[in-house]
């Protein structure tokens, strides 16, 4: 069975290459900061399970220190100029889409075809991680397709990958750091405490109020925690189950499903959902870190009201 460990080794090697190439990049005044940062990420992928909890903690402190004290620059690997790209675009034509579209095709192949395959009673891919395994496989196949079809230099995947990685910069590690913060929050019981505050202080003797508190609470809590999955158990245990389902007899499937989707409206509005909201802003080189969130709020708010109405109408 192919497990997540294989993906981690691959990621570790790729980040190690980014680190080495960063150290050699004389165009980047902060090249050793970048080299150290990506080297720590590589170490985490390759040896995270052997560092111990404290060792991993120190590693995270190192990452935060490098980013926080402005030691990260932006590498400038030699790449093609805009003029060259226009000429290449003309020459290659629609062939250029093939490697990029290889990604979704291989991912779909992995999820739909490889995932159900069993070898000697064992699944070929770890079923829980089939999507990520398929994505890693797709990344390898697509690089091969790009190199052959577009005749690019053999080092270009690593140099161009490093260029994009430096474009994202410290924001790349933020989603993982926030997931870890969520674990510390859970350990300290932050969620339960907030849930308790909400249920203690807001009277919910009318059905509409209760629906509103649950939906808005899911969204608000998600904004604070960055993740609807963290908000769901707390809000549902505090309001959904005892009041909406218990007291008012709501349909559990409707309450939970629309409740979760109210949480997703919160996800659209919080910088703590970094992989959806901040990493894209960095990837698209937007000067305003919060530009994607600002584009989403006008959809998220009316949709939240829509959820509230849908739950009120459909659940009872």
């Amino acid at each position: 069975m192919i497990k997540l460990g294989a993906v981690y080794v691959l990621a570790g090697l790729v980040f190690a290459a980014f680190a080495v190439l960063s150290a050699l990049d004389r165009n980047n005044g902060k090249r050793f900061g970048n080299a150290l940062f990506w080297a720590l990420v590589s170490l985490s992928f390759l040896a995270g399970d052997h560092l111990g909890d404290l060792g991993n903690g120190v590693l995270v402190l190192g990452l935060a220190a490098i980013a926080g004290f402005g030691m990260l620059g932006r590498g400038q690997p030699a790449t093609t100029s805009p003029e060259e790209r226009r000429a290449l675009a003309e020459r290659f034509g629609e062939k250029l889409f093939v490697p990029a579209l290889t990604l979704p095709v291989v991912v779909a192949f992995g999820v739909l075809v490889l995932k159900p395959i069993e070898l000697g009673g064992q699944p070929l891919l770890d079923p829980k991680q089939a999507t990520l395994l398929s994505l890693a496989l797709a990344a390898i196949v697509a690089v091969a397709v790009a190199l052959i079809l577009l005749r690019q230099p053999p080092m270009s995947p690593l140099q161009e990958g490093r260029r994009l990685m430096d474009t994202v910069g410290w924001a790349a590690l933020l989603p993982q750091m926030l997931a870890a913060l969520g674990a510390v929050f859970a350990l300290a019981g932050v969620g339960e405490l907030i849930g308790q505050l909400v249920t203690d202080w807001i009277p919910m003797d009318a059905r509409l109020t209760a629906v509103a508190v649950y939906c808005l609470g899911m969204a608000g809590f998600t904004i604070i925690m960055g993740n609807a999955f963290a908000a769901f158990p707390v809000m549902t245990a505090g309001i959904g189950l005892p009041i909406l389902i218990g007291q008012f007899g709501g349909d559990p499937a409707v309450v939970c499903s629309i409740g979760m989707l109210s949480g997703f409206c919160g996800t659209l509005m919080t910088p703590l959902a970094a992989n959806f909201n901040l990493v894209p802003a960095a990837l698209l080189e937007l000067p305003d870190r919060y530009a994607v969130i600002k584009a989403q709020i006008p959809t998220a708010l009316p949709l939240l009201v829509g959820n509230l109405v849908l739950m009120y109408v459909l659940a009872f």
Partner: protein, 222 residues
């Protein structure tokens, strides 16, 4: 109550735009210490959770191939390709992408698109190209808004499509949570009840995309 100081640290840190990685570390320490853990215990808990969540960062493996195709001119090609279809304006183009993302996510294919593998190399340049084909070169502000809208459309399509697929994480979480509370729910019911919200999300965002399209055109003048 003191444990909520960690949440406050996050809110303040993000509001004053401190480096978010530092904010997260500070918030973890504030929360842990307030909850009575020692600094070493906080660091251990944080380190363990960081290590367990490495899969979150493994998705950057798609960047090398995206970089290679960019080097060979994909963004430029995407831009000119859309300009050839004169009838396609940015609004309908992004509405089409929204529908594609919602439907494929509903079928469980959440990872076939995304910000790194589709928005940056193809969808955003095509959206920019669609605007340029009608109104001429974009100024910085309009370009950034167009890119942000392309990313927003990806998120909205993903979030309000994926919950229709019965084996997605959030559905499994709900089934498990309800089971521990003594309520048995068939996952299919949870996914069916995600459909009304998916439709409303599509209608709201599609309407916004049409307005966005008009606004860009009005800006460009007659």
């Amino acid at each position: 109550m003191l444990t909520l100081l960690g949440v406050a640290a996050v809110v303040v840190g993000f509001a004053v735009r401190l480096n978010p990685l530092l904010v997260v570390v500070i918030a973890a320490f504030v929360t842990g210490l307030a909850a009575g853990l020692s600094p070493v215990e906080v660091l251990e808990a944080f380190g363990r959770a960081f290590n367990e969540n490495r899969f979150v960062s493994a998705a950057y493996l798609v960047l090398p191939v995206i970089g290679v195709v960019e080097r060979a001119g994909l963004q430029e090609r995407a831009r000119t390709l859309i300009a050839r279809f004169r009838g396609v304006s940015v609004g309908p183009f992004l509405i089409g992408y929204l529908a594609f993302r919602q439907i494929t996510s509903a079928l469980g294919l959440t990872s076939i698109a995304g910000h790194a593998q589709s928005i940056r190399p193809m969808v955003a340049p095509m959206a920019e190209g669609a605007v340029e084909a009608r109104t001429g070169p974009l100024d910085d502000d309009a370009r950034q808004q167009t890119r942000a809208m392309a990313s927003a459309t990806d998120n909205i399509g993903l979030f309000f499509g994926e919950d229709i697929f019965i084996a997605i994480g959030s559905i499994l979480l709900m089934v498990g949570f309800l089971a521990t509370s003594g309520i048995t729910v068939d996952p299919i019911h949870l996914s069916v009840w995600a459909i009304p919200t998916a439709i409303v999300a599509f209608v709201i965002h599609a309407a916004r995309l049409i307005l966005f399209d008009r606004r860009l055109r009005r800006r460009a003048g007659p």
